[in-house]
Symmetry: C2
Subunit: 91 residues, 2 copies
């Protein structure tokens, strides 16, 4: 994962918004917002807040969707699939 990636999890949306703004203010021209499973809708919330409220010059370059295979916690059970999103923002 590159240094210009914000991995969205279960924290409040504004935490990740601040991370994105910090990267752009630090000179990044392109950042990636990534999430898996239930955090996917929060990743889109982050992108929308960054662009609409804080950085209107930022554009969505690409939205990738896919599947990751995840090793389960218990031994003996098989791999499970989880959906992923990868939003590329450019300034």
């Amino acid at each position: 994962m590159s240094e210009n990636t914000v991995l969205v999890g279960a924290k409040p949306v504004m935490n990740y918004v601040l991370a994105c703004i910090t990267l752009f203010h630090g000179g990044a021209k392109e950042i990636n917002i990534k999430a898996r499973g239930k955090a996917i809708s929060r990743a889109i919330d982050v992108e929308e807040v960054v662009r609409r409220r804080f950085l209107p010059d930022v554009k969505v370059k690409r939205v990738g969707i896919g599947t990751d295979q995840v090793a389960p916690n218990e031994e003996g059970s098989s791999l499970t699939n989880v959906s992923t999103i990868d939003i590329t923002l450019v300034r």
Copy 2:
């Protein structure tokens, strides 16, 4: 909303997968999978299951993300924003 749109909500993923397969088997060349808020991750689950398990010749043409304004239930409160996804599949 066109007749070739599957709106993903809170039902099980396979309900929406079946709706997509039915549209393609009925001759549709292009369908849209749409969702809002917490159902967004389920919409990606639907797309992944349709393509990986059932219709490998189907491709993702476009993924659009955005914001809808929603009127709240109680009177007097203001509009709230909800994130959206619109996945276009082509065969």
